[in-house]
Amino acid sequence: MRKMVCFIGCLLLIVACQGEEKQTKEMASSEEGPTITLGSKAFTEQYLLMKMTALLLMEEGYEVEEVRFLDSPSIREAFLNNIVDLYWEYTNTAKIIYHKDGPGYDANEAYQFVKKVDEKKEIIWLDKSEFNSSWGLIMKKSFASEKGITSVSDLVSYMNKDDNPSLKMATNEEYLMREDGLDHLEDVYNFKVNQNQLLAVDSELLSLAVKEERVQVAVGMVTDSRIEDYDLVILQDNRMAFPPYDAAPVVQKTILEDDPGIREPLEALARTITNEEMVHLNYRVDVLHQDVGKVAKDFLQKSGLLPDE
């Protein structure tokens, strides 16, 4: 009998619940803080980093403004002129381009260098991430495994064998000219690429060139999302020929002094993000054409930096 009463009660409850509306969860709008201007360079990874930063700061109660810059010099100049308060910079980009100090092959040394030098200019480098947007040699996965090539040294020894057909290499124009470019690579690994082996193409086309076997190897960005999609592989830089481009948030000293609260979420983000994740996020935006904002938010929620809705 008791069971039956319970059962009927449950039924009534179900009937009663039917019409009930789900209550919309209203986000209590947080206090309005000062507006912080965020900057990014004009490529996907930077958009993602800026968006994540914006979301984290908004969660902390700041108003943010997002500005996209065309390239590194323009954002640096704007930053120096206090147009931008905060953006993500790469250690060796700053060291080579802004400070004209040549590439630093040790990640920490490079970071400490730029941090120290920029501090004089009232620019604060927050803790860097392990995420390294560096150069690397890209090959087709099938080709590399067939020839037993896993590192740049393997590639060099393969190229040095006379009976092997000569390989073609693609780079972008910039790499041919850079101080840390092809010449440096040739010096470190002690090999020589002939002019007829070289093909200079646009950065966006490097991975495609490898995929379509127009070249066997290309110098590309290791965070290029299409590497995953095209079934390519990055060769291990066993002699550290490519300088590390570790990303770190860079912030105006005055801003940080006014709002020290922005440090923690940004350093947490820097600690959280890894190469693999960045490549995957790039992949979602570039290849799957997902919205930058959604991808950034999704990542932050999954890694626990933003509360779930």
Binding site: Q18, M27, S29, G39, A78, D291, G293
Partner: protein, 748 residues
């Protein structure tokens, strides 16, 4: 409750603690019991009527099995459908939102690209304004999204406005994004702003550089808001959808609702959330309709809100729900019919059957019920038929039982013997009417009392029935006595027998009593008569013997008197002689009278049946016969119609039979034959006794001759005389050692 259990468990550990705690435990248990009791009571009140009635039970079962599950399934389906539709709407809204966002982003990119083509950046030393104007006119002609294009130099002067104003030198306009573009070297998308013509527009601009990468100005394209609105509308497939693009200040850039253009976005919509949450879904009221709304920010800072009114979105599920409601009502009606049919076909016949059973229990007299009235052919009908016929048969058996009981009762009450039964505890269980008459107590006073308490015996040892109960013999037959209510003593002949149950255990005994006081009296009178007859016979014999000498004496005394009279003797002698004569004469008269008296009075002869006489005699001697183990065999060929002296014949036959019985010491057979030959009746008494010695045969009829120690030798003599008196003859036939036959021949 839990606490009390705890107490109980721990109470066991030490007896002292247990005593202390026991009170508490008791209290708590008591309270708990009180609660339980009220609960049980409620349960009983609710459950009792249901449990008692098969109708309520089956209705409950039908409701539980059909109606409730149906309602449950209905609810589950409707809820599931609503959830599904809602999910569908949400995902459709999100997908549409994404699609619009992508299209707008793409359109902006394409406009930026066109602006780059128009500007021809970093190609020349100085910017060719005229060429830009021409190129922009072509671009506007081909692109629907670009409403107009104008060039702003680095001094914020509008140089031209395509397509209609090739030269607008001197119009100064502060474009809000000009400074930003100068720094970013990148394109910029504006909010809703007022242009130099005073129109509220949105636009995108690119910075223009010369060959040496120095900032020259900005080329700005204004968007056609109509086109943007059309883009939103093109995605909205159905009615009730709405969407709008807003700038970060919340002003509506493009909308499906043209009236909202340029206004601040309705507060009903999640305007503040859009830019904070990037994307999401909310439910709120828009223009009076509850709506499901998706929102998302665009790449370049705008936001999109896209939603649908629930009323329209849920129309399919409402239709579905309507159809489902109809079908479930149908199912419920069917269920109801099913319930009704079930009750009519199964429950009601059972209830009728139950009513029959209830009525059956109340019935006390036999009344047959018709089994065939309107009963159906199914199992319930079969059951009903069977039960009714079982009921009828029970009644019939009961009836027969009553009949047979009444018969038995009549029999027991009707027999002319007293009857009493006791159980194994010697308590009287039954007496019959004859017993009541015998003892003078009513059965109410007797039944149920211990036998030994009945005041019908002097001592307990005299209760033959008690003896019978414990005796080894299954049955006892003996003579005893009882005392009736008036204190009178009756001689009774008692026969007892024991009762056994199915397990062969004694459960009581029965006694049959016959009052033999009368018969005993008769018997003793016969004996007395015998004695008197004997004395009479002797006296008669003496009288006969005296009669002859007395006759001589009479003659002699007469002659003596006459002689004395004549012979002048003295007077004394004469007197003596007269005295003698007188006395002798008187003696003769006395003897004569005596002899006359002893003769049987013929006038008493009457019509009788010899068979009846014999039967009565056998009846009188049956106990003696039994005592001496004599079997009486009777052959009656006739009733023996005769005229004679009834009492004398009884005496004669009695003497013969008693002699025969005495002759058979131990055991034997007495065969009595009554037959008729022509004019004679023949009665023969044949015994299997010792027989009579041939030497004794000639003395047999002499008075006072007897072979028995206590015999007087008159029995057979009297018998012979009586037979003679009755016009008969008595002869004796005997073989020594084999037996004797007494033949009586009666002549008609």
């Amino acid at each position: 409750m839990v606490k009390s259990v705890w107490f109980k468990i721990h109470g066991c550990q030490s007896s002292k603690a247990a005593i202390m705690i026991n009170d508490i435990t008791f209290d708590m248990t008591f309270k708990w019991w009180d609660e339980m009791k009220s609960f049980t009571k409620i349960k009983r009140i609710l459950w009792h009527p249901i449990r008692k009635s098969i109708l309520k039970k089956s209705v409950l079962i039908f409701i539980l099995l059909l109606v409730l599950p149906t309602l449950l399934i209905y609810q589950v389906i409707i809820n599931y459908a609503e959830d599904m539709i809602e999910d569908d709407i949400i995902s459709e809204n999100v997908a549409n939102t994404e699609s619009i966002v992508k299209r707008v982003d793409n359109e902006i990119s394409s406009v930026v690209l066109q602006l780059h083509l128009i500007a021809g950046n970093r190609e020349e030393r100085n910017v060719d304004v005229e060429r830009m104007y021409n190129r922009s006119r072509q671009a506007i002609a081909q692109s629907s999204i670009i409403r107009s294009v104008y060039y702003l130099n680095n001094e914020s002067k509008v140089m031209f406005e395509s397509p209609f104003a090739p030269e607008l030198e001197g119009t100064s306009y502060l474009y809000p994004k000009l400074n930003e573009m100068q720094w970013t070297h990148n394109y910029a998308v504006s909010n809703m702003i007022r242009n130099y013509n005073g129109e509220e527009v949105v636009s995108v601009g690119i910075p223009v550089f010369n060959e040496s990468n120095s900032f020259q100005g900005a080329l700005i394209a204004e968007f056609s808001q109509d086109y943007l609105s059309e883009m939103i509308e093109s995605v909205s497939t159905g009615e009730g959808h709405f969407g709008m693009l807003i700038d970060p200040d919340g002003l509506v850039i493009a909308s499906t609702n043209t009236e909202a253009l340029g206004e601040v976005i309705s507060k009903d919509l999640p305007s503040s959330q859009i830019f904070k949450e990037v994307s999401g879904v909310s439910r709120s009221v828009y223009e009076g309709d509850q709506s499901i709304i998706a929102y998302q920010t665009l790449r370049d800072g705008w936001g999109l809100v896209y939603g649908v009114s629930e009323e329209i979105a849920f129309a399919p599920v409402r239709k579905l729900s309507y159809v489902l409601t109809l079908s479930f009502i149908g199912i419920l009606i069917l269920s109801f019919l099913f319930i009704v049919a079930g009750i009519r076909d199964i429950v009601y016949p059972i209830i009728r059957l139950t009513n029959y059973a209830k009525a059956y229990r109340r019935k006390t007299f036999y009344q047959e019920e018709s089994t065939s009235e309107n009963l159906r052919k199914d199992e319930v009908g079969e059951l009903t038929r069977t039960i009714i016929s079982v009921g009828n048969s029970n009644y019939e058996k009961q009836h027969q039982l009553e009949e047979s009981e009444r018969y038995l009762n009549d029999m027991i009450e009707g027999i002319p013997y007293g009857m009493i039964t006791i159980n194994e505890h010697a308590v009287v269980t039954h007496v019959n009417r004859r017993f009541e008459d015998l003892v003078g107590y009513s059965r109410i006073e007797l039944v149920g009392r211990p036998l030994s308490q009945l005041p019908i015996k002097h001592t307990d040892e005299d209760f033959m029935l008690l003896k019978a109960l414990i005796s080894e013999e299954p049955s006892i037959e003996c003579e005893s006595y009882i005392i009736d209510a008036k204190g009178q003593r009756h001689l009774v002949n008692i026969g007892t027998s024991r009762f056994y149950n199915g397990k062969n255990e004694i459960i009581g005994s029965i006694a049959v009593l016959q009052d033999i006081s009368q018969m005993k009296m008769l018997e003793s009178r016969v004996k007395q008569n015998d004695k008197l007859a004997l004395i009479g016979q002797i006296t008669t014999g003496i009288a006969h013997e005296i009669k002859n000498p007395l006759a001589i004496l009479t003659g002699s005394s007469e002659m003596l008197r006459e002689e004395v009279e004549e012979a002048n003797s003295s007077e004394d002698i004469k007197e003596l002689a007269r005295d003698i004569d007188q006395v002798v004469r008187r003696m003769k008269t006395i003897v004569g009278n005596f002899l006359n008296f002893a003769k049987v009075n013929k006038a008493d002869a009457r019509h009788l049946q010899l068979k009846t006489v014999i039967e009565e005699v056998i009846h009188l001697v049956r106990f003696k016969m039994k005592e001496q183990n004599v079997t009486v065999v009777k052959h009656y060929e006739t009733n023996g119609e005769y005229i004679g002296f009834y009492d004398e014949l009884i005496q004669a036959f009695l003497n013969i039979i008693l002699n025969a019985a005495d002759a058979m010491k131990g055991e034997g057979t007495l065969t009595v034959t009554l037959s008729e030959y022509e004019n004679q009746l023949h009665v023969a008494f044949q015994d299997t006794g010792t027989g009579i010695m041939a030497s004794n045969l000639e003395w047999l009829f002499d008075p006072f001759f007897s072979t028995k120690e206590d015999g007087n030798g008159l029995g057979l003599t009297i018998a012979r005389d009586i037979i003679r008196e009755n016009n008969g003859e008595l002869t004796v036939e005997s073989v020594e050692g084999k037996g004797t036959t007494i033949h009586c021949w009666f002549h008609r």
